[in-house]
């Protein structure tokens, strides 16, 4: 059994779309989970539909949504205070050391983050790289396992089959509840799947196809 799981993603809602089922499973086993959320998604373009946020009110709205989602998932939350879209321009070593201060306190057995280069959004790739570097700074005998999440279109071709495939059907309702806590973002993000598939199918079915299994690669140091 895991001792403590740390989720390291840059945006409010990454945790709900990417790993809510996995988090819920760990919590149901009594494993503590902490989310190190990098930014407040200040530069997101989804403003709710119909819009209820604007560029200036979005950070506080997303902060509240993030806290609500973490309550639903029953995980601890730490906000690291970077600015959306800018993580790749920060000094990676510095970000890694910043993340490591949390890892040193928590001493996790498992870290979940994005797979650098295969996670589409520049913040995902940069924050994932910093997280992986943070773990590399820990002595090998104390290093937690790292699960890296990849979903760029070339993932299967370049990385092969994921090592971890969590079928989260049992926790799917909780995942949807966590996603919907991000009211300013949820519909806009989910509707992208529909547009991409160019079909008018049931949102719930689409969500299950896209969100029902959480896949990760075990990072090799």
């Amino acid at each position: 059994m895991e001792k403590h799981v740390v989720v390291i993603y840059p945006h409010p809602d990454d945790e709900s779309f990417g790993a809510a089922g996995t988090v819920a499973k760990f919590r149901s086993e009594g494993v503590p989970v902490t989310y190190l959320c990098g930014t407040l998604g200040e530069m997101g373009r989804n403003m709710g539909n119909p819009t209820f946020a604007n560029r200036e009110t979005l950070p506080e709205i997303r902060k509240q949504e993030l806290m609500d989602a973490c309550n639903i998932l029953d995980m601890e939350l730490e906000m690291l205070g970077y600015r959306d879209k800018t993580i790749e321009f920060e000094d990676r070593r510095q970000v890694a050391h910043h993340i490591k201060t949390y890892l040193d306190k928590i001493n996790p057995s498992l870290v979940i983050t994005h797979y650098p280069g295969f996670a589409v959004h520049p913040d995902h790739n940069a924050y994932g790289a910093a997280a992986i570097e943070a773990v590399s700074l820990i002595e090998p005998e104390n290093r937690p396992t790292v699960w890296a999440q990849a979903f760029s279109n070339d993932t299967l071709e370049k990385l092969g089959t994921p090592d971890i495939k969590n079928d989260i059907e049992k926790y799917f309702d909780k995942k949807i509840k966590a996603i919907l806590a991000h009211a300013s973002q949820a519909i806009g993000v989910i509707s992208q799947y529909r547009n991409a598939d160019n079909i008018q199918s049931d949102l719930n079915e689409l969500a299950k196809q896209n969100l029902g299994i959480e896949r990760f690669y075990v990072w090799k140091y």
Binding site: M43, R45, N46, M47, G48, N49, P50, T51, N54, R55, E56, T57, P59, R83, K85, V120, H121, P122, D123, S152, N153, I187, G188, S191, Q192, N195, A196
Partner: protein
């Protein structure tokens, strides 16, 4: 925000004329454009808290979508596709949203810096 009322926005643009102002100017089509459709490109730019001053300003449009041009001593600030506006804490916020409420462009003017 609410749909742009051209006269009211013009009034506000006049209000900031010849003052030292801070600009937030942004355009984006999201970080996932080419992920969901390989024929699309990810394009975006933003500048936050650029100090500027303009002596002439105009909003022009067809009733739904608007352009704003701010004439400075040695240049211009320009935004196209603006649809909505709001005054927030004495800051003039203008933005253009797509059918699904996603922000595509924004131009914001303030006498005090935007939070950063």
């Amino acid at each position: 925000m609410k749909p742009i009322e051209i006269d009211k926005v013009q009034d506000k643009l006049e209000h900031f004329k010849n003052k030292q102002i801070y600009i937030h100017l942004e355009t984006t089509n999201g970080a996932y454009a080419s992920h969901f459709n390989q024929d699309k490109y990810n394009v975006g730019a933003y500048i936050r808290n650029a100090k500027a001053s303009y002596h002439q300003a105009k909003i022009v449009g067809d009733g739904k979508s608007f352009r704003v041009g701010l004439k400075m001593e040695i240049g211009w600030i320009y935004a196209e596709g603006l649809t909505d506006w709001e005054m927030l804490d004495s800051k003039l916020l203008m933005a253009g949203h797509d059918r699904e409420g996603r922000l595509m462009v924004s131009l914001q003017i303030s006498e005090t810096p935007f939070s950063y």
